[in-house]
Each structure stands twice: as C-alpha cells, then as structure tokens.
Amino acid sequence: MDFSITEEQSMLADSIARFIDNDYSFDKRMQTAESENAFSAEVWKNCAELGWTAMLFEDADGGFDGGAVEMMLMMEQFGRGLVVEPFLANIVLAGGVLKRAASAEQKARWLSGIVEGSRHAALAFAEPQARYNFANIATTARREGDNWVLDGHKTLVLNGGEADLLVVPARTAGDTTSTDGISLFAIDAATSGVERKAFKTVDAHGAAEISLRNVSVSNDALLGDEGAGYSVLAETIADATLAVCAEAVGIMRTMHDKTVEYAKQRVQFGVPIGSFQALQHRMVDSLMACEQARSMLLRAVMLRDADSADAATAISELKFLIGTSGRKVAQESVQIHGGMGVTWELDIAHYFKRMTAIDILFGDSDFQLDRVAGLN
C-alpha cells in the first residue's frame, strides 16, 4: 500500500503543469477552441516533442512504457488546463486499440505515426441506437473476395474530422448486442464510401458523425482475430474512462479552488461572500467531493496498474462517483460565481461544459451504477 509516485512520474506531472501555466493560458485555449477545427497543430507538435504522445506506449512500440499512473498525472493536468487537443482520441482510444490488437506490420504502418504525434486517428466506438453499450454494434463487415465491405453509421467519433485513420468496430457475426462477432478495422478516412460530418462538441472538442456505405478495405485492415474485438474494445474503453475521470478530478479541483478564491474576492453587503456560512458549508461539501473523487481515482489507477480483476468495476465505480459528485461541484461553482459563472468570457463556464461532457462519455453515472450493481 503506497500512494507515493516516482521521481520520473513527478517530473512528468511538473513538466505538463509548467506547460499549462506558461504556454496554455485560458485566452490561448479559447482562441484554439473557437478556431475552425478546435485544435492547435503547434500545441500537438509540442506534446510530441515533449514525449507525451509516446508516454503510454510500450518501449517496443517506440513509447516510454507509461501506465495508468502516468496517464492519470497527464490527464489531471490536461483537465486543469482545459486542453482541447485530441490526446484521448489519438493516444488512449485509437492508439489503445492499435497497441493491443495490431500486428507488428500494422503497428509500423499506423501506430508509429500516432506515437510520434504525426498521425491523427479516431476510434468509432459509438452508434446511434446503442446509447452507452459499446457492444451494441449494428455496423456490419462482410467478406467480398479478399476484401471486407463495411456498412453502418457511427456517432460522436472524437477527432473524427481531423483523423486520417479510422479504427472501426464492425459486426462480422452475432446479433446486434452480442459481445462475440465484433471485429476491428483500420480504415483510411479517405476511402470511398466514408462520409464524415465534422463538428465541434459543446466542450469544444473535434468530433464527427461518420456513415459507411459499401466501404471496401483489404484484409490487412483487420486488427487482431476476426470476431474477437470485444475484449480489446473493452480494455480500451476502460482506459479511456479512467482517463476522463482523471481529467474530471483535475477539473473538479480547479473549479473548487477558483470558486473559493472568487468567494474571498467578491464583496457583497460589504463583506466577501465567502464569509456567508451557507456558502462556506457548500464549499466544504465540494471539497469533500473532490477528495472522495481523488481517492477513488487513485484506487482505480492502482488496481489498473496491478492488472487486478477488480479494475474494470473499480473504474465504473469511479465514473459513477465522478458523474454525480462532479456535476454537483460544477453546478455549485457556477452558482457561487453568480451571473459571471454563466458567461462565455469566464473559464468557469467552459470547465462546467467539459464536466458535463465527461459525465456522458462512455456512459453516465446511472449507466455506471447499474454496472456496479450488476444490473446490466
């Protein structure tokens, strides 16, 4: 039982913290967020040069063997800085599937660019009818000669507009909700039959709706064994869920701190509003929520790095807690900021929107609690 982190780990956290403080001001972030594709090539280049895009990959794949702890430290800082660049989509989601399922040859072809930060990719894990069940896949892939032909519709594909590589789960057997018969394909976004409608999300991340019509790809687009994609998908979504929870903990803490600070500065009735006991007790509730969330995060991270059988459930427990208490902390922060809290010009509003999006991503708190209680 040890909560301490290594020298290297704390250096990693510090370097990102410095980057956020010095090179990722809120104004700069908003310029990026309001730009056409909500993304700064310069920032992403920076992430690559500092080795962050490679951090979570194995040495053999050109990475630095980072685990859940490293991912947590990075995402917490990205949360604090409200970073919009597609770390989650490229590294954790698309990269996560490739590093688990791709052959050496496929890795050389597709993963290396992701590790180096030169290639943009996306994992199309969601479908319109599925709500949050990522095993619910209606998109089909059928053999046609030596090729695979895909048909279907994918929703909310994070980084789907920017990506030149699409990782697409499709059904090669079984009925729509079966965990068997899911196969994974790596598809060049330029392939004919791929139609993308790119858009920004409410929290200023790039995404796209993607429809596939008779999209024909050669057999080496298949990642891993035919029909055996579910476990890879599950592992990857679990990592991604853990990642956004770490980001959320960074956001919760930041919103809480900014709110306490505001309450000390904002004077009404001749005194700082932070002197009103009703607000004090609510800010204490928020602090407790932050601490409880961090505790649950550390637990999930430790279990994940220990390859514990409980890790998956621990991540659902964490996501449930984040979903409920994160929403509360965010709402209280806005409320205590008063009118300013609902203006575009203040960062609080944008933290609020990101928290809202995180609750939804990979299944909201109700969905997670059903999983924890073994009800779905």
Partner: protein, 400 residues
C-alpha cells in the same frame, strides 16, 4: 374544498385554447418549436396579436386595459399558453415597468407610456444590476446628477436581457449619496436608449448566444419628467415591483409542458434503440420530478387563492421561485440525460431559420438540450438568487 373547474371556467379554457390554436402565427410557432431564436419583429407581431385579443396585459387594472381575470382564469391562461408553447409577453414593459408607472407615475406619464407598452410599440428593458451590485442591489453606483431640468446619468448596468432590442430602459439610479440608509438615495428613472451617451455591449452567455447585455451611460442627459414618483423612493418602488409579478413566477405550466414532451420523447425508440423509459431508474426520476412539480402547482394555486381573498402573497412566493427554478433545472438535466451522446454536438447554425436538420446524420433537437441546460443555470441566479430568496424567507417568514 374541491378541485373542479366551474362550467364558466371550462368554457374560458376552450376559448383560450381556440385562440392559441387559431391566432398564434404558424411561422412563429414553427420557429419557436424548433428552438430557433425569435427576431424582434417576431416578438412584436405576436404580442400585437395578444393585444388585439385584449390579453396583452393580463394583470393590469381594467381601466388601463387589463383583463380583470380571476386567479383560476390566470392559471388556465398560463397552462394554455404553455401547452401551445407560445412565448409570453416580454416582461420588461408590460409586467415590470408598467405597474410602476400606473401605480406611482403622473397622469401624463401614464398617457405617454402605457399605450405604447400594451400595444408593443415600444420595447423596454431593465436597468437594475450592475457589475459590482448583484445580490446586493442597494450598493448600485450608477449616478443621476440633477443639472437644471435634467439628470446626467453615468454608470453601467448589466445582465440587461434583450437590451439590444430595446427602445427604452428603466433604471434604478443613485440621486443622492448623502442619506442615512443607502436605499434612500435611489430613484426610479426612464431613459430613451437613443439618447446620446447610451451604448449597449453584448454579453455572450455560457451556451454561446447573445441574450444579455451591458448598458453604459456616459453623461446621458435625461429630462426630469422621466423620474417616476419621488426622488429617493426608487428602492421602495423597485421592491413593490418585485412583489408585483407573482403569477407564473415558478414557471410551473411551462415545466409541465416540458415534462410531457420529455415523457413522449423517452417513450419512443431513438435510432432503433430501446426507449429510455424502459430504464426503471429513468422512469423513477421522471415520476419523482412529476410529483414535485404537481405539488408546486398546488402550492402556487394555494398562493393565488390566498391572494384572491385579499391576503398579500408576501415572501411565501420566494418558495415558488426557489422550487420552480430547482425543478426547471432538474428537467434540464433529464433532457440532457435523455439525449445521451446527442447532447454533445454544438451546431449553432442548426438554430438559424434556414438550417435543415440532417435526419440521416440524426441530429434533432437533442443537441439543444445541453445548451438549454447550460443557459438555464441562470435560473437559480437571476431575479434574486435562490440564496437571497432563502435569506428573505428566513427573515420574513421564519423570523430568524
């Protein structure tokens, strides 16, 4: 004690329902239902229809064009306008400044301003809050210095809803700092926004739209006859104004309409998936909000009944404001939960009139749910934050 409507009340209900069915312009209805922001002209055109019907100023004294309706009639009207999803009268003129004018204004002021308000010829906005004066309104700093036959106004008002549409603004201003209680130095004044020195700056709100503004006054000269009532009595008038517009403060009828829409929505399959209502937990949350809403409806009816027999609504109506906004916000979150991933796309252009919803890609109004959720966080903040309302109840109802 009984819960039924009389035959006359039922007949009235039919009349009102027919009016919204037949008279509410189809093009405005379509835009509003699609969540497309209405233009200034849309509002005015619709409000002139209400005026023609004699329903523009429901709560005004009859002699000024009010309806003289009973509380139950007002309750019925509120339900019908909500069920038609038709916009209420923009409140700043007819519901906010007018009562001050017909209660404290001169004969001349009444004749000059009231007709244009009820006929929607002049658009009014509100100048109360200031950057430094939110919950603590009495600390307002905008000055009105007497200079001969006019006042010179300097200062900034904020959170001015639809101020960019407005012709006139009513303001609380400081006409004297040399008073025992700071409230006593405040006056209520009417300002033509075309006067030199008045400028309006947009404030973009969390969801990305322009709804509120900052209004700046730089040496704005306002004739003394635009002062309403006595100099230094503005605070009293302002408070009476706040106590005035009680009906519908909780927005119960609108919330009931939204709840029904939500129930319809989640009862249908989305893109071939399972209807969300089959999720027992969601069904329970929906039922729970419905119960609280029904209770609030009757709390409001009890208040109206009390008012009808002459009891002042008093601070109890703060309960309506708190509970009403809490329930609105609970509904907001349920809409977002129902939308799931479709709450996330941010596509403003979808909400300008000529944008055709791309059904194949599948964005319907789901994407609106999060924007409404974000924007409506204001509900527990404006009109006296819910914390301020609790202070009021604590002091004036509980005597703490």
């Amino acid at each position: 004690m009984h819960v039924n409507l009389t035959d006359d009340e039922r007949a009235f209900e039919q009349e009102v329902r027919a009016f919204f069915r037949d008279q509410y312009p189809a093009d405005i209805r379509a835009k509003h239902n699609a969540g497309v922001p209405l233009t200034r002209d849309d509002y005015i055109r619709w409000q002139k229809v209400l005026f023609k019907q004699g329903w523009a100023a429901i709560n005004w004294p009859v002699e000024h064009g009010g309806t003289g309706w009973t509380p139950v009639q007002k309750y019925i009207f509120a339900n019908e306008i909500a069920n038609a999803n038709a916009p209420d009268m923009v409140p700043f003129g007819v519901k906010m400044v007018a009562p001050i004018i017909y209660t404290f204004g001169t004969e001349e002021q009444k004749q000059r301003f009231l007709p244009d308000i009820i006929e929607s010829n002049v658009w009014w906005c509100q100048g109360y809050s200031e950057p430094g004066s939110g919950s603590d309104l009495a600390s307002l700093k905008t000055r009105a210095d007497r200079a001969g036959d006019h006042y010179v106004i300097n200062g900034t008002k904020t959170w001015t809803t639809l101020g960019h549409f407005a012709d006139w603004i009513f303001c609380l201003v400081r006409t004297s700092s040399d008073v025992a209680r700071r409230q006593e130095g405040i006056s209520f004044i009417l300002i033509d926004m075309n006067t030199p020195g008045v400028s309006v700056r947009p404030i973009i709100t969390i969801e990305g739209e322009r709804e509120v503004n900052e209004v700046h006054f730089e040496n704005v000269e306002v004739p003394v006859e635009n002062l309403v009532g006595e100099e230094g009595k503005g605070w009293t008038y302002g408070k009476i104004l706040l106590q005035h517009e009680r009906t519908n403060i909780a927005g119960v009828a609108r919330s009931k309409y939204r709840l029904n829409k939500l129930r319809e929505k989640v009862s249908q399959s989305v893109h071939g998936g399972t209807p969300l209502i089959e999720d027992r937990n969601f069904a329970r949350k929906l039922a729970s909000v419905a119960v609280e809403l029904t209770a609030l409806e009757f709390t409001e009816l009890r208040t109206l009944a009390a008012v009808a027999v002459g009891k002042a609504p008093g601070p109890e109506s703060s309960i309506l404001k708190i509970k009403g906004t809490e329930l609105q916000q609970e509904l907001d979150t349920l809409f977002v939960e129902a939308a799931g991933y479709y709450a996330l796309p941010y596509i403003p252009e979808q909400y300008v009139a000529d944008f055709a919803v791309d059904e194949r890609i599948g964005f319907g109004n789901e994407t609106r749910s999060s924007l409404i959720y974000f924007n409506n966080r204001k509900a527990s903040i404006y009109g006296g934050s819910n914390e301020i309302q609790k202070n009021i109840i604590s002091k004036h109802v509980l005597g703490l």
